[in-house]
């Protein structure tokens, strides 16, 4: 990275544009959306990218149709994405659980705005973090990645597609107006790109069962609707053959597998940044846009001879429990920083009994500032 500032060309992109570009780079071929501030520019950008390249980008009649259309296209073999904000996430709910239960790969971008309800369209917040995890029937896990910069938006979206393909589940990108609609100079060419992963096809199609599992990763092999071999998709609780079942053993195994296949692999997709200060006794834990204020605060505290360490989570769901426990171990004092009233804080608290776990939070439409964090640390 030496000399990068002098020799590199950069682009001016907002988080939404970077997400669209990351999706395109990951092989997204289908996007369906519905206009909503502050997520609309993802749709606008996909409209510029997909149709000229043979992909499909459509505007649907509502968010229910946006995600429904994506699920149909994903079952037909396409890599799909949709994006919205809190009010649209509410309407996605029933189809999110379908994507979980039907093991339909999809990337869902939530550019959060201040809630509740219609809230404030042009003010940021991270107020739907728990809603993303729990906002649909069944209580089964989803994967959620949280970018804190424009380059994160690009690279984590690529990762999100890979994870959706690999684990056959919905993968969320949780951003916020303050990332989605903030522009930043970014050198896309310098961002490390993951190798593209495509959903695994069966080696032998004879006797194919759409939900049979033979691999240790617990993920069924995929064939698309429209293949020579017949494929069934079913929102009802189903057995390996895709037909409704009432067999308690089959039901139980299905439920446990949907949990296990995501949660048991979280260490493989635990993304994070950290700044570890040897002499610190406080660790700041944060994610999303607040990570940037925390990073600035961390640097300024260091020069004030008040060193603190910083852990920036980029995987939020499933909770990267091993990472959090391991990284928090050396510290007496933990401070969670987030743009809501402490939604993720409760996860941190539950993982770190015996430690002093405090919260810096703000939910007024403005960013948590480095000064707020510094003040809190110094007053401690």
């Amino acid at each position: 990275m030496t000399g990068r500032k002098k020799s590199v060309s950069r682009s001016l992109l907002d988080g939404n544009e970077a997400i669209a570009l990351g999706a395109f780079e990951a092989g997204c071929q289908f996007y369906a959306g519905y206009p909503i501030t502050p997520a609309t520019t993802i749709f606008n950008t996909m409209m510029g990218l997909l149709p000229p390249e043979g992909g499909i980008c459509i505007q649907c009649e509502d968010e229910i149709a946006s995600i429904g259309t994506c699920l149909g296209a994903s079952m037909a073999g396409k890599k799909v994405m949709t994006a919205t904000s809190g009010p649209g996430l509410s309407l996605y709910s029933e189809n999110i659980s379908f994507a979980i239960g039907g093991e339909i790969p999809i990337v869902i971008v939530i550019v959060q705005r201040l809630g509740p309800s219609t809230g404030i369209a042009t003010r940021g917040a991270d107020s739907d973090i728990q809603f993303i995890r729990w906002g649909c029937t069944g209580g089964l896990p989803v994967i959620t990645l949280a970018p804190s910069s424009i380059s994160d938006c690009y690279s984590l979206t690529m990762q999100a597609f890979n994870l959706a393909e690999k684990y056959r589940c919905p993968v969320f990108i949780a951003t916020n107006k303050e990332i989605g609609m903030t522009k930043e100079s970014v050198a896309l060419d310098l961002i490390e790109k993951p190798a593209i992963i495509n959903r695994r096809r069966p080696e032998n199609k004879t006797g194919y069962q759409p939900f049979a599992v033979s691999n240790p990763d617990q993920v069924p092999d995929f064939l698309p609707i429209g293949d020579e071999t017949l494929v069934r998709q079913n929102s009802l609780v189903h057995g390996p053959d895709g037909y409704i079942t009432t067999d308690p053993d089959v039901i139980s195994e299905y439920q446990k597998r949907l949990k296990r296949k995501v949660e048991s692999h979280v260490d493989e997709f635990t993304y994070y940044d950290e700044i570890a200060e040897v002499s610190a006794d406080t660790l700041l834990i944060t994610y999303g846009i607040s990570a940037r204020a925390a990073k600035e605060a961390q640097g300024r505290l260091s020069s004030l001879n008040q060193p603190v360490s910083l852990l920036v989570l980029k995987t939020l769901w499933p909770v990267p429990e091993n990472l959090i426990r391991t990284k928090a171990k050396p510290y007496r004092h933990i401070i969670t920083i987030e743009m809501n009233l402490g939604q993720y804080h409760q996860e941190i608290e539950r993982l770190l009994p015996g430690k002093q776990v405090d919260l810096i939070c703000q939910l007024d439409g403005s960013l948590i500032s480095p000064e707020t964090i510094i003040k809190e640390v110094i007053n401690e």
Binding site: R10, F30, I64, K78, N95, S185, D227, N234, S369, P370
Partner: protein, 432 residues
Amino acid sequence: MNSLLNSSRPPLYCPGCSHDRMTKVLDHALQNLGISGHQVSIVSDIGCNGQFDTFFNTHALHGLHGRALTYATGIRLARPELNVVVTMGDGGMGIGGAHFNAACRRNLDLTLLVLNNFNFGMTGGQYSATTPSDATVGTGFLNHLEPPLNICDMARSTGATFVKRISAYHENLTETIEAAITHKGMSVLDIWGICTGRYTKKNSITPNTIAAQIDDMKGPEGIIPENARPEYGKAYRKAAAEMPPTFQLKKIPKCFDFSDPHRKEIILLGNAGQRVLTAGELLCYAGMSAGLLVTKKDEYNITVLRGPSISEVIISPDEIEYTGIKNPSVIIAIAQEGVDRRLELLKKLTSDTLLICGTDLKIPTTSARVKQIDFKQLKIKSTDRALAAIAVMTKFQTGITNKMLQYALETRFKGNILKASLDIVSRMNEKN
């Protein structure tokens, strides 16, 4: 052709239910058309029709209530060669009304079979969108207060290109389904049937009464000439092939040396329609042309040409973390609404800040260095104030030079807009 019915999963409908015969009719239609199981996907909705996918050896998708048309749309757009047959009940017509309208307007090549039996059979005979007002169903007087939905009128008025109402007992039903499947566009068949499990208990309905009523209603007979137009998927692919790529990634190389290596924080305070955000973008491009890093954070209301519009730009040789601004190097104030949003900040300014502001604005008493611009006297339109002000800014030691601004304009604009913008900049350079 062989039957596509799944012999290991025979239909389990109530004795006398018309859905049972519908499975056979659909099977015959598919056979007559020579369609194999892998060439068709059945997308079933919720309710008794929702079991249709299990009775056939075809591709199948069974999803949530009322949403069948949305899944079908995705499948068909992704696989234009696949026949997509959607089964839905009168319940699905109600809960999925928006999807029905959208599918008819779009005219994607889907075949919708509405298995209309006038009530929610599976859940206990509640009234649906098509229950006649004089019927007796499980929801008391509620259906007496609402007229039933005319599915064919709705399909025709929203643009479906093939629409027909037909009895589940009609001798030509197989041929009609074949015609609907063969039709290139959105086909809607409103197929009237009998729910023996619930509806016939208190309502007298027979194949004969259905036939008489359908005759009486004189609905459309298939192709709707006034709706004739290209199939959506085909039209989409044609339009897409002709569309030039509209997203072009601009890459800004380092072209200039920045005269001042310190971080700059610039706030533009204006109102909507003054191109404040565009001016912020120009400052970003200018900074980037000197190899610097930038962020731009905007603030505005949901109103489009009303309300304040604020852009906060940071230009820095180092990584920019926090994107908010506390100690601005420059504030450009061009409209009162923007100024009023930052009154507290304006009051606290020191001589470190350069404040460039219109002479017609009420600015609180400040210790900032002030450069006033009389936009009216200079005949600068409201929409050009932001650009004019950043042109003035280049005359001060702010790090942004006139050359960098020119480069930014050439990056951002083309043709007449570029020319007009460069004119404004040169006028401001002359006047100040």
